[in-house]
Symmetry: C2
Subunit: 141 residues, 2 copies
């Protein structure tokens, strides 16, 4: 398996395209974010701003922490907090025309990597699953 | 990168050894499991029985679901439920003397793989992070 065998063609093919990525906006209230997370089933998802640029990620862990800070779970109280209050700004990103090697490197410490175009608009995500599946296919040949 | 370059030596070296793996027992109450998850910071961890054999995995998602089923979060009520009530029995496993190729294949659909000895006793876990880091190191050469 050589780095050169894995073409950038495969990156845009492997990427989960933005319309299929569960996400929230930074100004959404936490009760909405929680519903998106529960409905999508994912642990953590991208946070986008109004111009569809990546601002960070938010997950059940952060929302669970804020719920546990309350004496009761009151969905109305969750409505008073926003994604921007609890999200992690740190989220790995790369441009669509960068290499598979970079996606591999970023995935070592992150379950997904956000893919952006040259203007910073969100195009989709590369998951560890798709990176591992690709490597497995190449090693099988 | 060939399958043969990645030796089984590297598997036992890469594995997170059982004493460093956060885990719970199937008969632990949920308030204890939640504390272990919050303290360890992990999304999902192995569930072991009294003989230290792997029974499944449990995560914040499952505990969050049971909390949301309650009108209030009452830690005393969480004490009435057990890990066995909410855990997922499905968890990928392999023996320590199996190949890296098998660990890679199992990691496509699972964030961690449980490693067992020939009697089924729990030895540790292989994470996607360590698998991806190993591949990255081999491709860099
Ligand atoms: N509905 C489902 N069906 C089958 N398997 C499922 C599943 N939900 C999760 N998994 C499995 O569990 C892994 C971890 O998911 P998690 O939600 O923690 O972590 C996910 C989540 O945070 C994010 N993610 C994946 N797909 C997403 C999407 N369509 N929208 C938003 N975020 C996504 O990327 C992380 C890594 O995803 P990856 O696929 O590598 O790894 C996934 C996948 O192997
Ligand atoms: N304290 C920390 N410091 C730095 N990075 C952290 C971290 N906690 C999590 N991460 C990062 O987030 C990824 C997903 O963690 P998660 O807890 O969802 O999913 C974890 C967790 O379910 C389990 N896991 C990992 N180490 C564990 C341990 N020592 N005990 C129990 N379960 C563990 O294996 C999954 C995959 O772990 P992996 O390392 O591939 O991937 C980790 C790692 O890249």
């Amino acid at each position: 398996l050589k780095n050169s065998q894995i073409t950038d063609n495969e990156i845009s093919e492997l990427m989960i395209s933005q319309e299929k990525v569960a996400h929230v906006q930074s100004n959404n209230p936490l009760d909405h974010a929680l519903l998106v997370l529960i409905k999508s089933g994912y642990t953590s998802i991208p946070v986008l701003d109004k111009e569809y640029k990546v601002q960070g990620q938010v997950g059940k862990a952060q929302i669970l922490d804020s719920i546990l800070g309350m004496e009761r779970i009151e969905m109305e109280r969750l409505h008073e907090y926003f994604v921007s209050d609890v999200m992690t700004a740190k989220v790995p990103r790369m441009k669509q025309d960068e290499t598979f090697g970079k996606a591999l490197m970023l995935s070592i410490n992150h379950p997904f990597v956000c893919i952006e175009d040259n203007d910073g608009a969100f195009l989709g995500i590369m998951t560890r699953r798709s990176i591992l599946a690709l490597i497995h296919r190449h090693l099988e040949k």
